[in-house]
């Protein structure tokens, strides 16, 4: 595993999407997308609103029905149920951080670590926290908050907790939907470091609007527009693409101004 991760520039892709199409009553939200995610890479999916980014994530994780093919480690995922795909190591976060607000941080992570527990273990009480949980709490910087209810965590820390839940669940394909939405500057930097840290042995895809964050952290970028891939490649390569500048980067200034105004 380490070998593949280190053998750059082109390790075998973990997750491969081929000609994926999602149809909402005649409206093609995703129209024939090809995508490859590799271990060791932080792969950004960008594009204007309605470009199909989240719908693509929905398709990969089994929520949206699609045609085409999505494979992980060579195994076809299409038609599998959401929880089966998750068990295969494909984890996702949501636009608004979704954690179990009435449970503590430790409980959140313990649940995330336990998808393969048998009924007898489930029906007993937790005696000690699994090691992966304590380790992950350190990794996401929440070791001081083990007994805090997730619902009272600050916005940014909820996002980290949600990422942490994927980590303890042993996901090796992480699909993160706007992980820095609403974060302050320092939190963004920490998140960036966290992404690279976890990408070392995993494939990470990030759906994001924030261009600065993308530039600072992307190993690879795919630009979606109108449900199709507009451009793909390295950050510089994509930024230089005139079509991308036209449809997306041009609008990103507005987006950022709006964000700043809201903050």
């Amino acid at each position: 595993m380490n070998d593949t991760a280190l053998s750059r520039p082109a390790p075998d892709p973990v997750l491969v999407c081929r000609n994926v199409e999602v149809d909402f009553d005649g409206f093609k939200a995703v129209a024939g997308v090809d995508l490859e995610l590799r271990r060791g890479e932080v792969h950004f999916l960008i594009g204007p609103n309605g470009a199909g980014k989240t719908t693509l994530v929905d398709a990969v994780t089994g929520l949206a029905r699609y045609t085409g093919s999505i494979t992980k480690d060579g195994e076809e995922l299409r038609g599998k149920k959401v929880h089966r795909i998750a068990r295969k190591g494909v984890g996702r976060t949501f636009q608004t951080a979704t954690v179990f607000e009435n449970l503590t941080v430790a409980q959140n992570l313990d649940i995330a670590a336990g998808a393969s527990r048998g009924p007898l273990t489930l029906l007993r009480r937790r005696k000690t926290l699994p090691e992966t949980v304590t380790d992950t709490m350190k990794r996401i910087g929440l070791d001081d908050a083990a007994d805090t209810l997730a619902g009272v965590l600050a916005h940014g820390r909820k996002q980290w907790l949600e990422i942490g839940m994927l980590l303890v669940g042993d996901a090796d394909v992480l699909l993160l939907d706007e992980p820095i939405a609403g974060m302050g500057h320092d939190e963004r930097e920490t998140t960036g470091r966290l992404l690279h840290d976890i990408a070392a042995e995993r494939a990470v895809a990030v759906v994001e609007h924030d261009m600065d964050f993308m530039r600072a952290n992307a190993s690879r970028v795919t630009v979606l527009h109108g449900g199709a891939v507009l451009a793909a490649g390295g950050v510089d390569e994509v930024s230089a693409d005139p079509r991308v500048q036209e449809v997306y980067l041009g609008t990103s200034d507005h987006q950022e101004t709006a964000d700043a105004a809201a903050a």
């Binding site: 984890g91 607000e101 959140n108 649940i111 273990t121 937790r126 669940g169």
Partner: protein, 360 residues
């Protein structure tokens, strides 16, 4: 305080106190009649514990618990009728109400209920199995929320109508006139007291079981499913299975309560299990605090008591009170009575903060 309540010592002393009230105080202060009435209320409380689990912890609004309550009750009632008939006229005899309805042959599905062991197994397994099957069918297809609530309600309605049409189950009149309970005569005050003790012990056992479920990893998972089902599925769990377990356990509790209700009250009829009685089971749970362990118990007992006491003096006012309780508790106190201390604490904290500000 919270820590004490959740420690082993706290749990044990809680149960000791509960047992002292149920086994010591209640039989001491209550007359035989009132004790029997209390046993009836305890049956409602047992149903409430299950609803607290499925609804309070699992978020499933079970508007059809009357179905499982009724199943447990009818299964037990069939055994009691068989036992009566056997005692009067020997094995294979037809229960009295069938004789009157002109039914001379014992229907085949009645036959196994001559066996006490079979009856108890049926009470424990049949409703639980039905709930599991129904839950699988419904939750796997992600029918939930309001859809589930309406379906469970329609189920209660359909079940009651179905029962009314069954002449071999007493039809609209239901089954009544039970003389013996596992060989003991039911009209003997000593045995009635024994029945009360059994009911109370079952309540304690059910509460202990619910407590274990709540504190287990499963209990945490159930809350997780309630609050963010999608998140749980995207973590690799089959959320439907998690819900099915809680739903089936709630059905089990309701069934056991129904089985006890029959010898305690002496009658079961479709009137006790239709749509309205099923919803009424929820009132006590909501008032007591749906997500807490003891809230549903206290709430169910309180509502039953209030109904008995108030309805005779002010029958029309009681209906208003029921309606108002639903509205006010749900709208203003969704956590039920159990949340009052917490709310009071918050108010106090706020006042303190205000005082601090003022002095600063």
């Amino acid at each position: 305080m919270r820590n004490f309540a959740q420690s082993r010592l706290g749990t044990l002393s809680g149960f000791a106190a509960g047992a002292a009230v149920l086994f010591g105080l209640a039989p001491l202060v209550l007359s035989g009649f009132r004790l029997g009435l209390f046993a009836q209320f305890i049956c409602y409380a047992i149903v409430a514990v299950g609803i607290g689990l499925a609804w309070g912890r699992g978020g499933m609004l079970t508007l059809g618990q009357g179905v499982f309550f009724g199943m447990g009750a009818y299964l037990m009632a069939m055994h009691l009728k068989m036992a009566d008939a056997e005692f009067r006229s020997g094995p294979g005899a037809v229960p009295d109400f069938m004789e009157l309805a002109g039914i001379r042959e014992l229907p085949a599905y009645w036959v196994p209920f001559a066996s006490p062991a079979f009856t108890i197994a049926a009470v424990l397994l049949l409703p639980t199995g039905l709930a599991a099957a129904l839950g699988l069918a419904v939750f796997k297809r992600r029918v939930k929320g309001a859809y589930f609530a309406i379906l469970s309600q329609a189920l209660a309605g359909a079940f009651a109508i179905l029962l009314i049409g069954q002449q071999t189950l007493g039809g609209f009149n239901g089954l009544s006139y039970f003389r013996y309970f596992f060989g003991f005569t039911l009209n003997d005050p000593v045995n009635q007291r024994m029945l009360y003790f059994i009911t109370a012990a079952v309540l304690l056992a059910v509460v202990a079981l619910a407590l274990q479920l709540r504190r287990s990893r499963y209990g945490e998972l159930l809350v997780a499913v309630r609050d963010a089902e999608a998140r749980v599925r995207f973590l690799g769990y089959d959320a439907a299975n998690v819900k099915v377990v809680a739903y089936a356990v709630a059905a089990l509790f309701a069934s056991v309560a129904g089985a006890l209700f029959v010898p305690v009250v002496g009658i079961i009829s479709p009137a006790s299990i239709g749509i309205i009685p099923s919803i009424m089971f929820l009132l006590g749970v909501a008032i007591g605090g749906r997500a807490t362990l003891l809230g549903p118990v206290v709430g169910a007992l309180a509502v039953a008591w209030a109904q008995t006491t108030l309805s005779e003096q002010f029958p029309s006012a009681w209906t208003y009170a029921q309606g108002l309780l639903f509205v006010l508790v749900i709208a203003l106190l969704p956590g039920g009575i159990a949340s009052i201390p917490k709310l009071a604490g918050r108010v106090r904290a706020k006042n303190q903060a205000r005082t601090l500000e003022a002095t600063a």
